[in-house]
Symmetry: C2
Subunit: 691 residues, 2 copies
Amino acid sequence: MLVRTALVAALVFSTSAIADEGMWTFHDFPSEAVQQKYGVTVDRAWLDRVQRSVTRHESGCTGSFVSPNGLVLTNHHCVMRCLAEISDESSDYIGRGFIARSRAEERRCPTEILSVLLDVEEITPQVLAATQGLRDSEANEARKQTLSRLEADCVERSKEKGAEPLACESVSLYQGGQYFLYKYKRYDDVRMVFAPQHAIAAFGGDPDNFHFPRWSLDFSLLRVYENGAPARTPNYLPWRAEGPQAGELVFVAGHPGRTNRLFTVEQLKFQRDTQFPEYLVRNSELRGRLIQWGKTGEEPARIIQRPLQSLENMLKVYRGLNKALLDDRLMIAKSEREQALREHVLASTELTQTVGSAWDDIANAQERYRQIYGEYLYLESAAGFNSTLFRYARQLVRAAAELGKPNELRLREYADSNLPKLSAAVLAETPVYPEYEKLTLSLSLEKLREHLGPDHPVVRRLLSTESPDALANRLVDGTQLADARVRKSLWDGGAATIEASTDPMIVLARSIDPEARAVRKIYEDEVQARVAAAQERIAKARFAAYGTSTYPDATFTLRLSYGSVQGWHENGRHIEPFTTLERLYERATGNPPFALPQVWLNTRHELDPNTRFNLVSTNDVVGGNSGSPLIDRQGRLVGLVFDGNIHSLSGNYWYDAELNRTVSVHPAIMLLALEKVYGMGDLAREIKGSR
Amino acid sequence: MLVRTALVAALVFSTSAIADEGMWTFHDFPSEAVQQKYGVTVDRAWLDRVQRSVTRHESGCTGSFVSPNGLVLTNHHCVMRCLAEISDESSDYIGRGFIARSRAEERRCPTEILSVLLDVEEITPQVLAATQGLRDSEANEARKQTLSRLEADCVERSKEKGAEPLACESVSLYQGGQYFLYKYKRYDDVRMVFAPQHAIAAFGGDPDNFHFPRWSLDFSLLRVYENGAPARTPNYLPWRAEGPQAGELVFVAGHPGRTNRLFTVEQLKFQRDTQFPEYLVRNSELRGRLIQWGKTGEEPARIIQRPLQSLENMLKVYRGLNKALLDDRLMIAKSEREQALREHVLASTELTQTVGSAWDDIANAQERYRQIYGEYLYLESAAGFNSTLFRYARQLVRAAAELGKPNELRLREYADSNLPKLSAAVLAETPVYPEYEKLTLSLSLEKLREHLGPDHPVVRRLLSTESPDALANRLVDGTQLADARVRKSLWDGGAATIEASTDPMIVLARSIDPEARAVRKIYEDEVQARVAAAQERIAKARFAAYGTSTYPDATFTLRLSYGSVQGWHENGRHIEPFTTLERLYERATGNPPFALPQVWLNTRHELDPNTRFNLVSTNDVVGGNSGSPLIDRQGRLVGLVFDGNIHSLSGNYWYDAELNRTVSVHPAIMLLALEKVYGMGDLAREIKGSR
């Protein structure tokens, strides 16, 4: 599943634009290259219409408008959080699916926010001016302050036009070579319209995830509302129900989350040697804990559905990334490319002066990172306190401290521009499951002790008389943060209320905050700042060596990829680009994750077995592209991206044209499902009428 | 914990003998080097007495005789299997400890076998003659047949002398440069005498494991019997209760399990890239499953104690090995050393002819191994069928097939020389826990599917209509193999009985045997045989380049290491070589794994807080050395090896004199515990009287 992952990463860009490689911005799309290779013209009107048809789901996905009435197509796995949040013991919308028979039955998702990119504005000069001549750590601080200020200004300016304010986010492209403000229209009233049963949406489950051939009906429909009525969305994608032909040119518009294609070798080694092994071991153990707990009853089984799927997906991603980095081919290619650039720099006195010791600076920063990684991960990134309730406590404690400061001096995630998203996350009424919280919190406390050691001051303070289990139980049983009203009053009360609180989770978050902030400060000053400064200098060398006709690394901002529908060769076999419905039935075992919902067994005889189901194309996508529309040259929807094949996981580091493939749901199976399986003829007509 | 681990590995030897490096054989000990460095003479009489005082525990440990009446000192963690096997719901000897107040209360361990090395005999000429001029796979086969035959002959010859037969095992040293028969006296009546509570034996648990400073009372006492009476053991180690001085020369005699110090770079990469990541992810998940299940009740908590401790130990070992291989320092050093040897070979026409393409042959064999690794691991090594009951079924099915063949043509582990150990393992009455079996079997079936894919023929056959849970439940509930009498009748019945059996576990083992044997055949012919042949050739080059004054890699055979009592420097701190009792009490939290048994709290005022507890020395040890005696120049026991520090884990690949340390229990704390805490004055007198 191509949901956005939380990789710690810096912003980088790529030098090579061979094959169908590239996640291009809409403001710098290589229309000429497409014209040359495919004989197709992508003009500004086409780009503008597509841009405004695509939605960014702040939970980490993409979607697209598929009717003028705010109907949004995205993946099923992108709405699992919403389904979980509106489900309870008596209504398991993940297991049973969700069907709104009328608009009145469309259910609001408590925490989902959708954004549509309206405009971008370059701010590179302002940012560079603000950091000119400063030392790395000062420049880093000045850069953050400038970005917070420009974002706030941007929001104010948008209000002046009398309309509702836009959301403004700064974006760094090309390793700090360019800065932009991206201006979004936000939709915070997002309602669930349709979701099939999890069993068919994620048919094949974790074993099939990131594999192809594939049979996953991984789609769902949402609708955005404004002022209590369906939003008017004149920009939307009409459907081409028969889908694309093999070999046909197709585009993917969406929000790839993060790539690290121009990491230096030392940055790659940090991931390979320090970050990934720790992640895989810790989270594999969590997986075991969740699965075993899920076997203790129906309610535990229901509760773990969503977090487990998400965890298993992340584990598969990280295993793929780890495998890529352990592949000598990749590491040697990266080393050679780096060496070539370094030699290019050494050949020019000017470049040598500009770049200085950039690569060594990054290597030293990685070494520093390695030294503080345990504390950074467990205290500041809160891997030692894995719990929704702790997250609330941390956010409340920090908001109380930060909101008393001027906007520019706050931790970036507490800047004014981010407050709407933050307060929505803290204050939304969503279910909290105490037993689940205890499990994740207790395990993470154990890992905290395992990683930092029993004699670390924080570990001794927390666990010198209580076991991880006992402490987790006391915290979860004692806190009142599961109640949204309590969170509201703490949020509104500010610093004095937080300071006076005796809620045990607040007390915990307060007590570790000095250590967490201290290690964050070291990270920002001695790792992040050094890397940012060095990358800027390397970016200059790269521009000088290879020019600027390349794409920036992914940053969870809107991108367009072009490619074509085609399979691939592997182990002497050719993998065809399409699957059909027939084999779905042959593959069903009756047991999860290969069990079909009863309604699919009941209606089998009415369904054309040759209906196309999933398909692959050469588009260059990564996590965050989940839910992206697959689009033909006329701007029609010809598929719904939901995954990559197993080789796509190395796409974080490079694009392998031979093997890397995007996996989509075919439009024919989605319409067939709505019309023949789920009796949602009206919805199908809304989509088809949009033609 | 330094128990022997099950690393898949080939036999190699090391070129360097600097510092206190080396696990030397008793028949080739570098007495001159010790004389030179320490001014101490190690003569044949000293070596012979120590050799016959040391026991090999076939479960993967070492021990030593500490009285003339068969009393054996070893680690607590080495007897946990025995304690688990004699415990039940009403008697938790792991949790409560085991105290035999009289000889009559000494309890027999159902599956433990102890061996004492009496003699060795070189058989290199016979083995080389048998393989002369054969192709790799034929040579591999001929070598195995020859070893089986020589072992059987050896046992027959030992009988001719009228005594009870010896156990004869062939041993390959120096990468096939030398072959020996090792001749053991076996003790199969091994009784539990004393074990402290797990809480004090493993104080600090997994967080402290492989760390120092340390406070673990990791010792226990067994006694070997012959004909129903304590065995006479005139060779034993007297105790030096005050222990060694800092800086003093000390020896470790024991059975290091396996080192890979002369793996080629490609072999190291296979472990780093393929073997270890898979192992860590799979077993971390198992750890999570076990811990979570253990929380469901007292009986599950008791059942998982031993397997969990063993699993956590293995995970820590593998993480350490993985970390070592991800360390550029190590990989670069290995590459350089390999390159130097290759250049040495290329400089000589004769050597070039002898060695041929040996390194490339190993690289190709590793590539082949990579291709079949999933099937080899999950089907033949049975990672897909992780269950004691399945192991019984596999052994019964294969024994039935193999025992009908001539000795030499059998799979090696079914050769006559191995039958006593094998039948003891299959037929012993030990508890089997159905819920535990279901857990491990179900998880491993899931991993089988995850790794081989849902479309693999074996996966489709087993899981096309049943889920892993359902299949595991049906197998465990349906099989009768938990009953030792049933196993006995199947063992005695042979091929016809096995063929007719409808026991579902037997049916399963039978059904996957063709695929498992097929991939084993590929492994043996195309991986093992090629590697063995190439290593033999590289060994010749290495002898030519560096001479023969080196030690062979560890092979779970008797070795002697010399070193001195000393701490180390780390992060600007000096770690002292001794800990004392006082700090144990300060470190106790009241919660596992830092909880002290009540008897230690009750007797605290009677105990000298300055009593030495654990100590470190520079001896070169690895897993399998658990329970090894630490010995002074006069052959007196001055400690009990139970662990290494975290840096010792890289000892699989090299010896780091600066950081690698062996961790032992001090004799003073063991005697104090027996006399003052547990009221075992008689036992203390038996030990001290032995002086």
